[in-house]
């Protein structure tokens, strides 16, 4: 199954929130939807979930317009919240039923998930008697109990302790292995790198960059070298403002152009005592900052 979000535009009043968002994800893969606060991620997710319609654009499943009566979507919103004063099992069954399950199946599925997340002992307790982390696990059940084909997880790891984060990782991996489409929205780049093959960075209502993380990194302008040396001062004096030391003691040298790479490497090896020298490869965090730092400015739409 392929989910395709195609050229979505959305205005709220005079404010253009989405200006032609397009991305696609396939069954059995996790897709990272990244962007700064207010970039348009939640609006995109809400349009994808049919909370409100787009002004223009399409949501397609295998090339056909999505039929919400057939496609089930599970959602873990960033703003967590359920009914604090109600019994956990009652509200989980309610949400599973709202998402299309019969009461019998809803109860069965909820019990399975509570068991899977080691939360069965809290089944008949009120939500507000649970710790924040456990409440989050309960919230996760609302996203998964109705066996959705598409799972949208907005900041799923925030507030979880390492053990619970591990459990969630296992659950997410299981769901990906079952052939679900998992959409991740998070600012914790390590988790995105761990799970997602493909990402899209939304900036200012537009896709700033999208594609597989590997390719994005590979295609990143290779105009910087990272050098490890015992004598950094000599190199700093030689390269001047183009050379900067980072916190690990390594030096980053900005090249005049990517074509200068081999020539500069040769020059460094010949003239300085270096331990290692490599072309700078950015982390996802670096890419995110690079493409979103001008949140208010237009960035050229680039697709890889």
């Amino acid at each position: 199954m392929e989910l395709e979000v195609k050229n979505i535009f959305k205005n709220f009043g005079n404010k253009e929130v989405l200006k032609g968002i397009s991305f696609s994800a396939e069954s059995g893969e996790a897709f990272g939807l990244l962007g700064r606060n207010g970039a348009g991620k939640t609006t995109s997710i809400r349009i994808l979930m049919d909370v409100f319609p787009a002004d223009s654009g399409e949501i397609l499943i295998d090339g056909k317009p999505i039929d919400y009566s057939k496609i089930r979507i599970g959602y873990l919103p960033e703003e967590r919240g359920l009914y604090p004063k109600k019994k956990i099992v009652d509200q989980l069954v309610y949400f599973a039923m709202l998402n299309g399950l019969s009461k019998r199946n809803a109860v069965k599925s909820v019990d399975n998930w509570l068991n899977r997340l080691q939360m069965s002992e809290y089944r008949n307790k009120r939500l507000d008697t649970l710790s924040k982390g456990n409440q989050q696990k309960i919230q996760l059940v609302t996203a998964l109990a109705h066996n959705p084909q598409i799972i949208i997880l907005d900041e799923p790891f925030s507030g979880l302790d390492p053990v619970n984060a591990m459990t969630l990782k296992e659950v997410v991996k299981e769901e990906i292995d079952k052939g679900k489409i998992v959409l991740f929205s998070s600012h914790q780049m390590n988790y995105i790198e761990e799970f997602c093959d493909k990402i899209a960075i939304i900036n200012n209502g537009k896709i700033a960059i999208q594609g597989s993380i590997k390719e994005i990194k590979r295609n990143y302008t290779r105009d910087r070298l990272v050098v490890s040396t015992e004598y950094p001062q000599k190199m700093i004096q030689h390269f001047g403002s183009r050379c900067m030391a980072d916190k690990n003691g390594e030096l980053t040298i900005k090249l005049k152009s990517a074509d200068d790479k081999n020539k500069t490497m040769k020059e460094i090896i010949e003239n300085f005592d270096v331990d290692t020298i490599k072309v700078f490869e950015p982390s996802l965090n670096d890419i995110f900052v690079e493409y979103t730092k001008n949140g208010g400015q237009e960035i050229k739409n680039e697709t890889i």
């Binding site: 809400r46 909370v51 409100f52 959602y75 919103p77 604090p84 949400f95 709202l98």
Partner: protein, 411 residues
Amino acid sequence: MKQFKTILSFELLNYLKNKVFVGVTVFLVVVIAAIMCFPSFADNIFSEESDKNESLPVMIIINETNNESSIFEEPFSYAFTNYNVKLYDDSYDTFEDEIAVGNAECAFVIKSLTDYDYYVNNYTLYDTNTEIADQVLRSIYQTNSMIESGISIEDASNIINVQINHTAHSLGKDQTQNFFYTYVMIFALYMVIVLYGQLVATNVATEKSSRAMELLITSAKPVNMMFGKVIASCLAGFIQLIAVFGSAFVFYNINKRYWEDNFIIKSIFDIPLNLLLYMLLFFVLGFLIYAFLYSAIGSTASKVEDINTSSMPLTIVFVAAFLVVITSMSSGSVDNPLMIACSYIPFTSPIAMFTRIAMSSVPVYEIVISVAILIVSVFAIGIVSAKIYRLGVLLYGTPPKFSAIFKAIKK
């Protein structure tokens, strides 16, 4: 439809499982049962003692006139059935002490048939003993005067106590009969609509403030959510009304013979069936209009605390309608121009038209027009409220201005 049913049953069960809802309903039923059964208990407990005059407060009559004391005994005992009337001659001069220590409640010192002194420990605002005594003495004086003029005692008594019979024929509605039950029904309508309307608004705002709304709007259609909530609260209100009025009706019938003499209670339970059906109709339509608006208001508030301010204009409209109706009822003229106008305005017609139907003779076409306007308004307000709800549930922060909402729903 399946989603609507799920929401409806979830919301209705929330009411029925709510301890406050169950507690208030049981409390009201118990209070009504206690009130309705009270005369029966009182009759059983106090029947023996009530036979004895000792249990009644003592009224002392001191005869200082030249007349025989016997001419006062019977009329005073007959007129003051709630007192143990004791007659003394003028030598009884410790009566003031008896009153002061509480052995007697009051005393009449009769100086002549047209002059007496009244003694009582505390002269209250509601003490009517002197008025009754005036009548008794006037009657004795008149009888005596007639006897002295040669008229026999019997004739004199007949002349003075002549009985006037009258029958009032009301060609329309009898307001002495229907005032009390109309008042009770209007009050019940008012209370249920305001209380449940506020409850709906609070529920929606609570879902928003607890952020359960984030999940709800992605799991259910806003229209299903709003209609499910409103109709569940309508059913809950109806169940509570049935419980309260039903128990009142059952306990009244069990204790009917004890209430035979109570005109007000008797008239309240003499509600004609057609009026009950009208009440049901206006309850449902009126409730829906207000509950839709309350839910829309609830959706625009981010916190429960905002509800009171946001819903104030709507509550004021309904309170004003209630005041117009109650004032018109008290004045006896329920067909005044203001009431007629209110009978066609959807926000006021549920109680205004109902009152007119109950207390006056309203032409059928007027009822049809009023109900038709109300039904159309329910649908129109339902659609507009659903649009506001759909927008409102996604908005956080300062509640939006009315003009902004209007602009958004026009789109």
